[in-house]
């Protein structure tokens, strides 16, 4: 495995399976009453969050603490530029503190790549702009595997704002590596013009794709897209691309529903669907901690374990 986890595309199939299998083992630990392992004792993990994301930060924090790492939360809300300190200076500060791993969340695509030039420790991308969110893709794959058995040949439909979604980019890359067949469904305005070069199918018609899907993953529609002419209105989006009860009924009986959260209930997903037994949305949160433990364990634990 690489020293960093910046793009899901950097993972080979063996890397990805190793992470998923490791997570499976760690999940057993998480189910015990004493959840802590001594593996990363004495190692320092910095959570460097330039964007508010309590969910992701807490998930990484819990993961690092369960492996007995020391955790430093470095919250630098707003862009580094508006704060007056450059990303480079922040990186050098962390370097001086002896961070073994830096988990970075940033509004600028590519910020983790830049950070990796300036720190010696491992860089873990916890979401960069509209680029990638590889641990989300890993936890999604982990959740799918737990529900469906394997991923090989499974049909995964990802619905929504693909253009601005780091979750979609990482999922397309990882699921392709793992042998699943991905179909992206969105209004054409919310797909990159070059989406035809991606390793997946593309459709504008959700109803046509649903009956053939093993997994339907709904993406959050950001409020700011609603005012930028990507689609005419919230209601029209919901009618054409929302997963409501009627559409849910068109899915095969075993198919599951996923959402990376936070959801707009009633917009991209109906409440009944989100809360149904075939929804993995709550499991995804729990699996997030497990998969991040696996990532930190494999990036940092290797040499001392």
């Amino acid at each position: 495995m690489n020293r960093h986890l910046i793009s899901a595309g950097d993972l080979t199939k063996d890397d990805a399976l190793l992470i998923l299998d490791t997570a499976e083992e760690l999940a057993r630990v998480t189910e015990r009453s004493i959840k802590k392992l001594p593996t990363l004792r004495g190692r320092t993990v910095v959570n460097l969050f330039f964007e508010d994301s309590t969910r992701t930060r807490i998930s990484f924090e819990a993961a690092a603490k369960r492996l007995s790492a020391d955790v430093i939360n470095f919250s630098a809300k707003g862009s580094s530029v508006s704060k007056g300190e450059s990303l480079k200076d922040t990186a050098l500060t962390l370097e001086a503190m002896g961070a073994d791993a830096v988990v970075i969340r940033h509004s600028a695509s590519g910020a983790p790549h830049r950070l990796a030039n300036w720190v010696r420790g491992s860089v873990v991308n916890a979401g960069d702009g509209t680029h990638e969110h590889p641990t989300q893709a890993l936890l999604d794959a982990f959740s799918m595997r737990r529900r469906l058995g394997g991923l090989e040949g499974r049909k995964v439909t990802i619905v929504g704002d693909v253009l601005h979604s780091r979750v979609a980019r990482s999922n397309v890359l990882l699921l392709n590596t793992l042998g699943a067949e991905v179909t992206l469904v969105a209004p054409p305005t919310l797909l990159p013009v070059s989406v035809g070069t991606w390793p997946c199918e593309v459709s504008y018609d959700l109803d046509a794709v649903l009956p053939k899907s093993d997994v339907v993953m709904m993406l959050r529609v950001q409020k700011e897209r609603m005012n930028a002419a990507y689609f005419p209105s919230e209601r029209e989006y919901s009618r054409r691309y929302g997963l409501d009860r009627d559409r849910f009924a068109k899915m095969p009986d075993e198919a599951i529903v996923m959402h990376p959260g936070p959801m707009n209930r009633g917009m991209e997903i109906a409440a009944e669907v989100a809360d149904s037994a075939r929804s993995t949305i709550v499991e995804q949160v729990a699996n997030g901690v497990t998969i991040r433990m696996a990532v930190l364990y494999l990036l940092l634990g290797g040499e001392s374990a």
């Binding site: 862009s79 530029v81 990303l87 695509s109 590519g110 830049r114 702009g129 013009v193 070059s194």
Partner: protein
């Protein structure tokens, strides 16, 4: 009297050029009968600096200077239509002094200084200041470009006539960095400059289509999650402006063409006989948007961030072909210096632009000459003669012949060297070519007979 020996004018036969009072007085074939010994140096004039081409082998104090070109190519002094000298306002990035030194090192004898300074060059006062600074330092002629609109604001025409009538005699007007996107304002500007034979140099970028744009919109931007700068945003403005220029019978110059589609539009406009000229930068002739994803300096390195953005291989090929067949008239550097801290950031926070004066000729050799697309005479046309004509510069861009001003660039195309930004004389180092091996080296530059560069070093 200055004698420049052993040079190949436009790559031709060896010749000696004699210069007096800033003017070429004689051009004679270099022959064995001349006072040149086998080592290529004039006999009896061995000087300390005589080792390399362009070295001084005679008295260096102006009169009686003898320079041995050692077979270097002699070109008319290069003229840049598109330079950012940053002064006034961003003297941390570049000054008129360092920018013109950089120009001289790159073989330029004249540059057009873009108007997006602080304050903006939108009044006679500012353009005269920049022009005077250029004259004071004397490394190369500085011709200020006047802003089209007040403060580059795109709302009101700047006092174009006052700038034209000023000591700086401005003929090129541009809001470069910003597009004159208001169609009425662009029409008026094109019409207005006809009164003094001016030209509007448009930075073609439809603003709504490029809100937050970070790089070429295409395969790479889609993967990298960077907001796209679509080709259509350039092409739509160029098409409109060509039609406007035709309608009002004025002269349009299009800055830094970057797409294959833009080439098609310019080709079409020229086929109509319209008075449209276009430029391309060296970097758009060599580099592609793949570098943002994969390069020796890492992904998302803002050293490749520039406006208009680097495009695809197909665009590069179309631009080269267009420069070769004359659809694109000139190479212009868009030399855009930025301090380190404005580039050592995350991609979206970084400044756009690359320095280019000191690498321009080498990049053109690599992209156009080594590929057989241009010979040296055509390079001279596109980097000296035509840009001077577009800028209406009387004393620049003239063929190297008796009676012409002695603006001469000596260039040795035979060497290949690794680009070392620390050797630049520009104040800024934001070059995308660091570590690349490029051909050629400017060995000497003469401005009206006076050397500004000898042996590759500033005089």
């Amino acid at each position: 009297m200055t004698i420049i020996r052993n040079v190949r004018i436009l790559g031709g036969e060896l010749a000696d050029i004699r210069v007096a009072h800033g003017v070429i007085t004689a051009i004679t074939p270099t022959g064995p009968q001349a006072d040149v010994i086998s080592g290529g140096r004039p006999s009896g004039q061995e000087g300390a600096g005589g080792a390399g081409p362009g070295g001084v082998v005679g008295g260096a104090d102006g009169d009686g200077l003898v320079v041995d070109g050692k077979g270097a190519i002699a070109l008319p002094g290069l003229v840049d239509l598109h330079t950012h000298l940053r002064e006034p306002g961003r003297e941390d990035a570049e000054t008129v002094q360092t920018g013109t030194q950089s120009a001289a090192r790159g073989g330029f004898t004249a540059v057009h200084a873009m108007a997006n300074t602080s304050p903006v060059a939108d009044t006679a006062g500012v353009v005269e200041q920049v022009w005077r600074l250029g004259r004071e330092f004397g490394h190369c002629d500085v011709h200020p470009v006047g802003a089209v609109t007040v403060g580059l604001g795109g709302r009101h025409l700047a006092e174009l006539g006052a700038m034209a009538d000023s000591a700086a005699r401005v003929r090129v007007f541009s809001d470069d960095g910003k597009c004159v996107d208001d169609a009425v304002l662009m029409r008026r500007a094109l019409e207005y400059v006809k009164a003094f034979d001016g030209v509007v140099a448009q930075h073609a970028q439809e603003p709504r289509l490029t809100e937050g744009a970070q790089m070429n919109e295409g395969v790479v931007s889609g993967r990298l999650g960077l907001t796209g700068w679509p080709a259509v945003a350039e092409e739509a403005i160029i098409a409109r402006d060509c039609l406007l220029a035709a309608h009002v019978g004025s002269r349009l110059h299009v800055c830094h063409l970057s797409t294959a589609g833009s080439v098609e539009i310019i080709r079409w406009a020229k086929s109509k006989g319209w008075n449209v000229t276009a430029e391309v930068t060296p970097h758009h002739l060599l580099l592609t948007d793949d570098l943002v994803e994969e390069s020796p300096v890492g992904a998302y390195n803002p050293i490749y961030k520039v406006n208009p953005p680097l495009r695809t291989r197909a665009d590069v090929e179309a631009l080269r072909a267009a420069l070769a067949d004359g659809t694109i008239d000139v190479v212009a550097t868009d030399h855009a210096p930025h301090p380190v801290e404005d580039k050592e950031t995350e991609w979206s926070a970084a400044a756009m632009g690359m320095v280019g004066l000191e690498t321009a000729l080498s990049v053109v050799q690599e992209a156009m000459v080594e590929t057989g697309l241009l010979d040296w005479a055509s390079v001279a046309q596109r980097m000296s003669v035509t840009p001077a004509r577009i800028g209406r510069l009387a004393g620049q861009g003239q063929p190297l012949e008796v009676g012409a001003p002695a603006n001469i660039t000596l260039y040795d195309p035979s060497v290949r060297t690794e680009v070392d930004p620390s050797a630049f004389v520009s104040k800024s180092r934001n070059t995308p070519y660091e570590g690349m091996t490029l051909p050629g080296r400017v060995v000497a530059t003469f401005l009206r007979g006076r050397p500004t560069v000898l042996e590759g070093k500033l005089v």
